[in-house]
């Protein structure tokens, strides 16, 4: 059975996660990679804007706001730790 992976868009607050990979190979995927979403990178969700707005994630020592569309491109696995 294939393990289900979630994306950054599904990440819950206070949950730590690790990046598995970035989906796709267009310029958006490359830019996400360049922003630090590389395999093994630790990310956590800082906050979400209401009504499906952008989320703020924390990775590599900085904070980045992403729309859900872009966040869905980042496959993660939750590590179960708390921030």
């Amino acid at each position: 059975m294939t393990p289900t992976h979630s994306s950054l868009a599904d990440l819950q607050k206070f949950g730590m996660a690790r990046v598995v990979r970035v989906l796709g190979d267009d310029s958006t995927a490359l830019r996400l990679c360049e922003l630090g979403f590389t395999p093994g990178t630790e990310v956590d969700l800082v906050r979400r804007a209401p009504f499906g707005g952008p989320l703020v994630v924390h990775l590599r020592g900085y904070q980045l706001a992403l729309r859900p569309g872009e966040a869905r491109r980042v496959e993660i696995e939750t590590t179960g730790g708390l921030r």
């Binding site: 310029s27 590389t38 804007a49 499906g52 707005g53 900085y62 904070q63």
Partner: protein, 639 residues
Amino acid sequence: MSASSPTESRPATPPKSQPKRSIALVGSPNSGKTTLFNALTGLRAKTGNYPGVTVDRREGSFREGTTEVQLVDLPGTYSLHAISDDEAVTVQVLNGEFPGVAAPDAIVIVADATTLERSLPMIAEVLLLGRPTVLALTMIDELKARGGDIDIFALRRELGVPVVGVVGNRGLGIGDLREQLLDPSKWSAAKDLPEGDTISRFSWADALLKRVTRHPVSESGLTRRLDNLLLHPVFGGLVFLAFVTFFFQAIFSWAGPAMDSFAGVLDQAADWTLATLPDSWATHLLADGIIRGVGAVVVFVPQIALLFALILFFEASGYMARAAFVVDRIMGWVGLEGRCFVALLSSYACAVPGIMATRTIPSPKDRLATILVAPFATCSARLPVYALLISAFVPATPVVGPITLQGLTLMGLYLLGAVSAVLFAAIFKRGMLRGASLPFYLELPPYRFPSISSLAIQVWRRVSLFLSKAGKVILAGSIVLWFLLNFPVSEAPEGSTESQAAQYQIENSLAADLGRGLEPVFEPLGFDWRINIGLIGSFAARELMVSTMAQVYAYEGDSEEVEGFADLLTRQDPETGQPMMSAATGFSLMVFFVYALLCVSTIAVVKRETGGWKWPIFQLGYMFAVAWVGAFITYQIAA
């Protein structure tokens, strides 16, 4: 004459004098690059455009002894794989691939010491270009304050290139950096750089950072606490509304006293000119055409300077990114993004700086859509016209507390503009400008107190740019308008008062011919030739509409006095027995003014920002159509 055979190639053009050596600053947005550039160059810098694209070209220099160093501040980018126009410029210039622009001789990479974990891979990319490079680490003070400690000497050993720590907004380390910049040939070369793709660069970076970091930097507690407040779903929204209100309030009241004194000085200058110079049409051109005409716009400089200062302050402090975050979902509903909001908000003071502010929007389609609807924001130049018309045709009956019917009407006009802007942005993004935009991502930097000197330099540069670009256009417009109003020269009959003479002159001028010629177009809206002249005047500068109309209606008093002029408009015209201007016409004119692009400066800046005449002409056309239809409907209903 040399006897060269036709097959011999022509001799090469003699080389120009050795081009000055230039050093480029490269770095990601929010790295403190611009503050550093301003600290290094001070006022010895100018902003222009790169040929063929609307991307800011900032170049400056500094002098140390007999050596002059040329610096270029390249647009910020997150990597050397460009995904937007300004990133493309940075990459092309670095590679010497930008036509007409020489590759820089040396490079300064500017990187925030607190985010090396993200920026090291790009540092590697730039080092791989093989050019003499020095690394300037900014925010060193913040690094220490947040408990971080990086062994800069170790970093230098690992990378191979010189590394200088600076605190841009306090001038620390600037002297050391300047010294380094004097002679790039002395810089050591990079070594042990990663081969391969982005992922391998990050592995390299992580390993390197482990070796040079004595203590990792912790999160900024202040930023976290402030964000919990400012980005709170409910509270953050309220703070945002307060921010918008504060913006409006600041622009409309704080700039007031400065604007009044500007106006006073200009009036005196005009009067002095009329009194001192020999009476001739040239003198009148100078006083009434040029000084008053250009002055009407120069008066807005304090407001525009304040607007730029506020935008730059909030941008540099980090709050602007939060504001864009809060409003992004709403902007997304019409197909735009959060950063468009600032440009639209600024347009409420004046569309010219608002449209200039669209440069922060990475997606060309979003940018164009924002530019096309920005003039619907009720700019402050429309206020004198609204004040006049509302005063004349709307009773001051109180509705709720201190709010009167007049106040409500004004709010209604503002709302009409705002709603229309949103509506048309949605139409454009779904229609002509449809298509995938760039990915939306926005760094939220830690809150920082901006460098006031860097801010002052940037405001100065933008105001100068505004004055030189818009100023030329307004000057030309004012001169043309003056000629239209004052030729052919017509002497009024004996015994006329000064204002009657002025009125006579206007009635027989070219402008009047134009106004009468335009009547078929505007009659369905209830406009007569006199209003048409006012509209022509408004083109040069919206502010001139009222003073032009005052002359046309032979208003005796000071056109600044709204009540008196408004009163005149409602009085009976002795010739026709009707009021000078009917209420229906008044309302129709108000609606027309909400929409029509009656501003030559806006057209000029749109041409500059979109790189051609196509879009400004389209904008002029569609706005005119909307204005005409809106005014037509209003007139038919009201009449």
